[in-house]
């Protein structure tokens, strides 16, 4: 036995870990064919972030004046999380902005990793090496833009190998960093929109620059309206994009490669799941309307005050919201009637409030929509330019651009109404700001007209439920000063324009100081 033992021992000391269901780095030699997969996670994080649970969409909309998630008979109190979003009482442990932070940095760290692997030759790319690195840096800049807009003062990390605790940067530094990165990579980015759908190409990067210039006053204290106009002009003149003739087509389930879309987050009900905007908004009974293969959850809806600001003949009202009686797809029976009224953040019925219908739901939809999310689209470029013109005293030129965008909204109802004047854009908002009581009455806000309120209304109608609203109403001062629905201006409203650094990050990185006011 001793002899047997002696012989068998060496083989019985081998503790090498055998790996079967993972790809061990040292065994994997990536080639050209693997490059799309290696780049993919940089974009992949965005899908769950944009239209997924408690993601970017909710951060931008629930904190603003168009969409609310009231508690309902089937729940949706959820520890007060939606109420805090609505009333700006979020804390460093609020999930939604934390998700945004995590997901953005996931894209950034992935980009850093892949860049360093390419630069070190671990990932061999021969042709188009600079172009791949440029794209990765552009997406990284995009992820930093999300942080710039939402958290402001965050660390900038560009080297994957460096795992030392990063230092915090100011919002202005971050803004400069993103702009300079974009300037550097622009020459290497593709200008061919048709082969880069879903990726950040030259025009997407330009639109991103325009966005940063548009909000420059908020980000850095110095407005950059002329830069907005310059950048937008290049996109308008050379980008080859156009407005879709039909507003609804931009958001259709078959909206890939729309002529209007500059940068999309593509979704697919099989390969690219994560667009659950319909699940959160529809009542469970709406499944009969669309023969859905999932039972929706029944949560968020439109703020009645916003709905009331629409022109009745504006086609975007119907194209953006699901309202009124809904009918069973097979039997034709009415299954639910969505009412405009919502009594409050509490005490809402399951059918209160118009639902988000912008991302059209096809028959037989699953829990995950096919509709791509247009993060940047051509109308946005036109409206950015219009806003810059408006704010630099060129209201008449602005009105022409806005009219151009409005035309398709009234084409089937009253084309004359598409025309908008400079006075309207400069004048006050049609949004009846003020606190809403349970009976629907409004304690009308007495703080005066919103400057350029007419233009803000246009942004609202055009971009409702596109995760634009928080940024826009911050720029117009509404976010900090107005009441809407069950929201009153926060006592420290000026600090609410950026979110706190997530508590977990503060705890694990002592170089980070909390944003002011938290």
């Amino acid at each position: 036995m001793l002899i047997i033992s002696g012989i068998s021992l060496p083989s019985c000391l081998d503790l090498t870990e055998e790996v079967f269901s993972e790809v061990v780095a040292e065994n994997f030699q990536p080639g050209e064919r693997d490059i799309p997969s290696i780049i993919a996670p940089v974009y992949g994080s965005l899908r769950a972030l944009m239209m997924g649970w408690q993601g970017h969409f909710d951060v931008q909309e629930e904190s603003a004046d168009i969409i609310i998630t009231p508690s309902r008979p089937n729940g949706w109190y959820d520890g007060g999380t939606y109420l805090r979003m609505h009333q700006h009482n979020w804390t460093p442990i609020q999930w939604q902005p934390t998700n945004l932070w995590q997901s953005s940095y996931r894209s950034i760290t992935t980009a850093n990793r892949v860049i360093s692997q390419i630069e070190d030759g671990e990932i061999p790319i021969e042709a188009g090496r600079d172009e791949v690195i440029a794209e990765l840096k552009a997406v990284r800049a995009f992820a930093y833009y999300l942080l710039l807009d939402n958290h402001g003062n965050v660390p900038i990390v560009t080297d994957f190998r460096d795992v030392s605790l990063p230092l915090q940067r100011t919002r202005a530094e971050l803004s400069d960093f993103i702009l300079s990165e974009l300037e550097t990579v622009l020459p290497f980015l593709s200008k061919d929109a048709s082969s880069t759908y879903g990726q950040l190409n030259y025009w997407g990067a330009m639109t991103l620059m325009a966005k940063i210039y548009l909000n420059a006053e908020v980000y850095t204290g110095t407005a950059q309206w002329d830069r907005v106009i310059d950048v937008c002009d290049e996109i308008i003149n050379e980008g080859g994009y156009a407005l879709e003739p039909m507003y609804a087509d931009i958001f259709h389930w078959d909206n890939a490669n729309s002529v209007e879309t500059i940068f999309a987050i593509p979704y697919d009900e099989i390969f690219g799941t994560g667009n659950t905007v319909h699940m959160k908004t529809l009542d469970p009974l709406s499944r009969f309307v669309y023969n859905m293969q999932a039972g929706p959850w029944g949560g968020n809806c439109a703020v009645p005050q916003f709905i009331n600001s629409y022109d009745e003949e504006d086609g975007r009202l119907q194209d953006t919201w699901i309202m009124g009686p809904q009918y069973h797809a097979n039997t034709g029976e009415m299954v639910i009637n969505y009412t405009r009224e919502v009594p409050g953040m509490a005490a809402t019925a399951s059918n209160n409030g118009y639902r988000i219908g912008k991302y059209q739901i096809k028959q037989g939809a699953t829990g995950s929509l096919d509709n791509d999310f247009p993060f940047f689209r051509y109308a946005d470029v036109l409206m950015m330019k219009a806003e810059a013109l408006l704010r630099t005293g060129r209201a008449t030129e602005a009105a022409i651009l806005v009219t151009q965008v409005r035309e398709r909204a009234f084409v089937n109802s009253n084309p004359a109404k598409a025309v908008v004047t400079a006075e309207t854009l400069i004048g006050g908002s049609r949004y009846k700001y003020g606190y809403q009581n349970i009976d629907g009455s409004i304690e009308v806000d007495q703080s005066g007209d919103v400057p350029f309120g007419g233009f803000l209304d246009e942004l609202g109608w055009e971009f409702a439920a596109e995760a634009h609203r928080r940024q826009d109403i911050i720029r117009f001062g509404v976010f900090q000063t107005k009441s809407w629905f069950n929201h009153r201006p926060h006592p420290q409203a000026n600090t609410r324009i950026i979110f706190p650094i997530p508590e977990g990050e503060i705890n694990s990185n002592p170089n980070l100081a909390q944003n002011p006011g938290y």
Binding site: M1, C12, E22, A25, R113, M292, G504
Partner: protein, 1002 residues
């Protein structure tokens, strides 16, 4: 380098085998003697005469074969035959006979003129001489210097016992066994000396005849004894597997001349204990009429909970045979158990077969054993899960199960389904098969040297199928047209151990040396496939390809494989001087594939000392003191990460992280985790001080232990900053934890008469836990706490917080101090003010109560009167709190869409609640209880010619509970993990069980 170290270890192990020393019988037992004679017969007056007699065991009234009968002072003697009879020539004068048999108290009988005698021998209950099982061997209890506990077959809990752990429930101080679920397939929950790991498992290592397994590996009826290695000094020889303690199960084996066939059978029924009382249909109508509460009245009266409950009848059959002789013998058993549950369609069947063969050769120099255990667990079930239970709780009691057309009455609502349709429209079948084969060879080249080789292979397979019909929610709600899936898991675990064991005594010195090597590897493979959109629901899961979701790309499929290896060298040295001073030390050097290359090997030492004060000259000979022993021990054990590969630098292709690149959907190539090649095990260092005692001829005995456990290098999914890391957690060795505790075991025999015996076994334990630190060299500052536990929706909140400097198990909650006139909770703010809950912020939460009991008590009484026996087991736990989910979700009248407890409208702080469901301290209740858990009443039938032994019994489990807790069962709560004391809403309620049983031996 690796080959070199391997070589070194080979030399070391061979060296251990060759390090042979000397030793003599250390364990000769000094028997105590007392006599009772029942003589009868006539006088004969020859010089030599013949005496004959029969020897019985007093324990079970069976004849005792093989008993040595010797005339005192001579070598003349005989042994009893298979029937316990002996015949012996003795001088015709008063003669003293010495009767001895291993495991029995030796008796001396003075024979005057009897020619026929009947002798009864008592089992040797001298507690210090009992043999207890320790790691890789056994020891005389008196020699043990560590904290170990053991329970033998005769002291097991009787009745419809769920698994091996329940046999010793409440009988080992510091080992808490609870049954959190009434599901027939569910296991017990075991915890030894508190929570000792964050991410690893706190589960003990369970060995069945030396081979790792679980509490269900063998049927409870097949178990002879269960020993528990509690402290580090005892467990350290098992290294990285032993932080949760070691439970050693010894199966029943052939003993000398135990040629018997025995059959055990029981039948049991169960009922729900403390069933929740909900509003009835009539209550609804009254509330609508009298108070205008906006309930929907469908006009019926349905007791939904009653609809899903049944009174299940379960049975259990066990047949065991022992046969052979001292050179070749076998044990065989068949166990069949068919248990049904209180929920409809939740039964499980188990068939366990065991064969154990022993053969010895060359004058007992070589002994061989082969054991085979085969078990098959089968369950054909419906959809009666925790979720169905929730649906039964919340469903409108004025509704009905089926509509006029006899279809299921479904309604629209969010998470609102007919529980009975779920039960019948979901089908599943699972089959678990395991074959364990083990073999051992023991060779005695020298008298006091044993060389042992043990090898085993355990192979098991699980095959599961489940499907829903067209009438299930998946179809009527989600349009899936039938769903089905199939999954299978295959697992192979191999073990090889070589040990060498020597003992030697010279003069007053006794020493022993053990050395050994152990290898273990395990491979897991899995596969699953699912599909839906079937043309018919008649296929179930048996024609998966018929579903159309495969073609539309929505079907699911997956497979995986993993493997780990563990190698260890171990040695132990014990030394005993004059039965007074005892010393033990052990060491294990162990390597695991589950850790980073830099940390594959670790060392786990242990040492303990004992002082048998009772053997000191000043106490020796005192007839009232059998034993007093002081013990002190120290030992290091480890906890290994649960899953392999945590230290690997590896990637995965992942669809979720894929994207639309270059006009195609591609999968994302992503790192499997934040890489940490420095991962290692947790280290637990434990100090244990103990006292063993036995007084008044063992009528009062027991032990007392105090311990401290310091656990360092806690494996923890540590929050790391993002950036620079990819994801915000990383498996790290971070922080430390401490457990302090004390345990008391007391065995008392208040009455011991010929016809009446009363024995009491009392256990008490207390434990105090503290998270000392959560930090790591890599990160300067760490989170000082982490949150744990969740309420589930619609409250969606965490329940516990574990903070550095505090114990595990504390609830972290808004503290309610009242209810406002509008029916809103009033809570205490961080500044001590009273504010409505709508104004409360996270910072207002505070610690409130702890889910882990401070004190745990077990009291076990055994009464024997003539042929009757009665056992009463009482357990209690004190100093803890329970979050009553049942009340948190169902004792609030705010949401009239769902049914609720009939106490929901009762005033709280003088007001009726009119506020959303919320997690507040009001629902955290004292969990203290005393439970009369097991009452067993048995009767042993008078002996019959063809039957050696027969006993019938009736037993009740979970009979009576004294508590202020308002939920179903304060003991039926999960206490492991970091959210102990959450009495979850979706549960399978614990039950009350009544059993009738029969044991016969031929």
């Amino acid at each position: 380098m690796k080959i070199f170290t391997n070589g070194i270890y080979s030399l070391v192990i061979i060296g251990i085998f060759l390090t042979i020393s000397i030793q003599a019988r250390a364990y000769s037992t000094v028997k105590k003697i007392y006599i009772s004679i029942e003589g009868k017969g006539a006088i004969e007056s020859t010089e030599a005469r013949t005496i004959s007699g029969t020897v019985y065991s007093n324990e079970d009234n069976l004849p005792l074969p093989g008993v040595s009968v010797v005339i005192k002072g001579t070598s003349t003697g005989t042994a009893t035959d298979g029937e316990g009879n002996f015949t012996l020539e003795i001088p015709d004068e008063p003669t003293t006979l010495v009767l001895s048999f291993i495991g029995y108290v030796t008796r001396e009988l003075v024979i005057n003129n009897e020619s026929q005698i009947e002798v009864r021998m008592d089992a040797d209950v001298a507690s210090m001489d009992e043999v207890v099982v320790v790691g890789y061997g056994s020891m005389r209890k008196g020699d043990v210097t560590s904290s170990v506990g053991g329970v033998k077959e005769e002291d097991f809990v009787k009745g419809a016992v769920r698994d091996a752990a329940q046999l010793i429930q409440g009988k080992v101080a510091g080992l808490r066994v609870t049954t959190p679920s009434g599901d027939p397939g569910a296991s017990t929950q075991i915890n030894l000396r508190g929570i000792n790991s964050i991410h690893g498992s706190s589960q003990p290592l369970i060995l069945i005849d030396g081979i790792p397994g679980d509490m269900n590996t063998v049927a409870p009826e097949d178990i002879e004894s269960i020993d528990v290695l509690k402290d580090g000094s005892a467990a350290a020889i098992y290294g990285t597997r032993a932080t949760g303690g070691v439970i050693i199960i010894t199966t029943r084996q052939y003993r000398e001349n135990r040629n018997t066939v025995s059959y055990n059978n029981y039948v049991s029924i169960q009922t729900i204990a403390r069933r929740p009382q909900l509003l009835t249909g009539d209550d609804y109508r009254r509330l609508i009429r009298e108070e205008g509460i906006p309930y929907t009245d469908y006009g019926h009266n349905t007791d939904w909970l009653g609809e899903m409950l049944q009174t299940p009848v379960s049975h259990n059959h066990n047949l065991t045979l022992f046969g052979g002789n001292s050179t070749t013998n076998f044990t065989g058993s068949v166990n069949y158990r068919d248990w049904d549950g209180i929920f409809l369609r939740t039964g499980q069947q188990r068939l366990t077969l065991r064969a154990d063969l022993n053969h010895s050769m060359y004058n007992d120099k070589l002994r061989a054993n082969i054991q085979i255990i085969n078990r098959i667990f089968t369950a054909n079930r419906g959809g009666a899960d925790g979720y169905a239970y929730r649906q039964a709780m919340i469903r409108n009691p004025t509704d009905r199960v089926r509509d006029d057309q006899q279809n299921w009455q479904e309604r629209d609502g969010y998470f609102y389904e007919n529980p009975i349709s779920r039960i019948y429209e979901y089908n599943s079948e699972s089959r678990f098969k395991e074959m364990r084969i083990s073999g051992s060879l023991i060779y005695n080249p020298l008298d006091n040297l044993d060389l042992k080789l043990l090898v085993s292979s355990v192979q098991n397979d699980t095959l599961v199928g489940n499907a829903t019909t067209f009438d299930h929610t998946n179809t009527w709600l989600n349009n899936q047209n039938g769903t089905a899936s199939r999954s299978t898991i295959a697992r192979v675990e191999n073990l090889m151990e070589m040990t060498a064991n020597y003992h030697k005594s010279f003069g007053r010195h006794i020493l022993s040396v053990l050395g050994g090597y152990s290898w273990q590897d395990a491979t897991n493979e899995s596969f699953y496939a699912s599909n839906w959109n079937f043309p018919t629901d008649l296929y179930g899961w048996n024609n998966l390809g018929a579903g159309a979701a495969l073609q539309t790309g929505q079907a699911g499929m997956g497979s995986g494989k993993d493997k780990w290896q563990l190698a260890g060298f171990f040695g132990r040295f014990t030394y005993n001087y004059d039965d007074r001073y005892l010393f033990m030390s052990s060491i294990r050097r162990e390597g695991s594939s589950r850790f980073g290359v830099n940390y594959q090997w670790g060392t786990f030492p242990a040492a303990s000392v004992g002082w048998r004060i009772s053997n000191e000259p000043f106490l020796k000979g005192n007839s009232n003191i059998q034993d007093i022993k002081l013990r002190a021990g120290y030992g290091v054990t480890g906890t290994i990460a649960n899953s392999p590969y945590l230290s690997q630098i590896s990637y995965n292709f992942n669809r979720d992280q894929g994207a639309f690149i270059g006009g195609n959907w591609v999968q994302g190539f992503i790192p499997a985790r934040n890489f940490n090649p420095d991962l290692r095990w947790e280290r637990k260092m434990e100090y244990n001080f103990g006292l063993d005692f036995s007084f008044f001829k063992d009528r009062v005995s027991g032990s007392f232990d105090i311990y401290r456990r310091d656990i360092n290098d806690l494996l923890y999914s540590f929050p790391v900053p993002v950036p620079p890391y990819l994801i915000n957690t990383m498996m790290l060795n971070a922080g430390s934890m401490q457990n302090d505790g004390a345990e008391v075991l007391l065995n008392i025999t208040p009455i011991e008469q010929r016809e009446f015996v009363w024995r009491v076994n009392l256990t008490y334990s207390t434990n105090k836990n503290k998270l000392v630190d959560l930090s790591n060299d890599q990160f300067e500052v760490s989170n000082q706490f982490f949150n744990a536990g969740g309420t589930g929706e619609p409250i969606q909140d965490y329940t516990h917080r574990v903070e550095v400097g505090g114990p595990i198990g504390r609830f972290f909650v808004w503290h309610t101090v009242g209810v406002s006139e509008s029916g809103e909770w009033l809570i205490e703010s961080q500044n001590g003010e009273t504010i409505p809950i709508s104004e409360a912020v996270q910072e207002d939460r505070q610690f409130y109560g702890n889910g882990i009991p401070k004190h745990i008590l077990g009291i076990n009484n055994t009464f024997i009167y003539k042929n009757f026996d009665l056992e009463l087991n009482i357990r209690g736990a004190f100093g803890h709190d329970i979050l009553n989910f049942q009340r948190m979700f169902y004792e609030n009248p705010y949401n009239t869409a769902y049914n609720m407890l009939n106490t929901a409208y009762d005033p709280v702080y003088g007001q009726r609640l009119s506020t959303d469901l919320a997690y507040v301290s009001h629902y955290i209740e004292s969990g203290d209880y005393i439970k009369l858990d097991n009452v067993t009443f048995g009767y042993t039938l008078p002996r019959l010619r063809f039957m050696q032994h027969a006993r019938i019994y009736a037993s009740g489990l979970n009979l009576l509970i004294l508590t202020n807790y308002k939920g179903i069962d304060p003991e039926g709560v999960y206490i492991s993990g970091f959210a102990p004391g959450n009495d979850e809403r979706d549960k399978y309620p614990t039950t009350r069980t009544f059993t009738l049983g029969l044991n016969v031996t031929f």
